[in-house]
Amino acid sequence: MTTPDSLVEVAGRVSVTSRALERTITAISAARLGVAAGEIKIRLTDDSGLLSVAVSGPVRISPLASEGNESLPAKIRAARSEIRDDVTRIAGAHVGTVGVTITRALVLEKRRVG
């Protein structure tokens, strides 16, 4: 067999439907953009054998007054590479491109001070 190490390969195969993949990547993107999963729309396409992910949804930005504000493009760039790494790590799919379309910005504090 072509299996490396001492892994015993079990006969059979695993199939992940595109629906399951979409839901997984929606959850990943929602976590990385800091918004609810219901706000995120995902489109998966093929990029010459790699997975191409198109994310569209809002982004959460910290209140303008708070210190340590990253610029929005830098934040989204970081989110894109995080999404790519997470998809490869969790879904096991090699990602070609990640496109992010920000539809809204949610300027809300995560927790209001009572």
Binding site: T2, R13, V14, S15, V16, T17, S18, R19, A20, L21, L44, T45, D46, D47, S48, G49, L50, L51, S52, V87, A91, G92, A93, H94, V95, G96
Partner: protein, 194 residues
Amino acid sequence: MSTDLASSAAAPYRRVLRRSQHRSRSTAVVIALVALIVVLAWVGTESVLAVFGLAPLLVAPAALLHFIDNPDSIGTAAASALALLGVVLVAVALSPGRRARHALPDDRMAVVIDDGVLAGAMVRAAVRESRLPASRVTAVVSRRQGTVTVVPTSGSLVNAAAITRAVETAVAALDPQPQIRATVNVSERGVVGS
């Protein structure tokens, strides 16, 4: 193995294998000869009727000869159709008339396998190795060439070399004659989800 097939002991098998792998011309021959007989019988009948001065069945020989000498557009079309039929018959006679089958070497039997079955075996080997759904793997087998096409799942890398090896092993195990060269194409575009 092919030397076994060629040896004198396997001569009857060789004959059987050849017969199973080539199309018989007898159907074409029978149809052509029956048509020829009907036409000649008709011409003969018309000639005899003309000799005794009786009414022709369809056309009197003299009128037929006149028609052949001065064909109208229908006559030209009919002649062209007959010429085309002749060309087709010559092509059928001269073409190798091979069937899409391969012989499998066997000491005790003459075994012939349809190319579709051979393609199925190649697909099976590729599916086992790649672990893709069987619907994503197709194969086409011609006389000396077997081509397997694999459509990968987007994001999962396909080991084309391993699939090629698996397919070659499967083909080598069957050892079809004439030998076929196996190639594996991994499709440029994948499919999302599996």
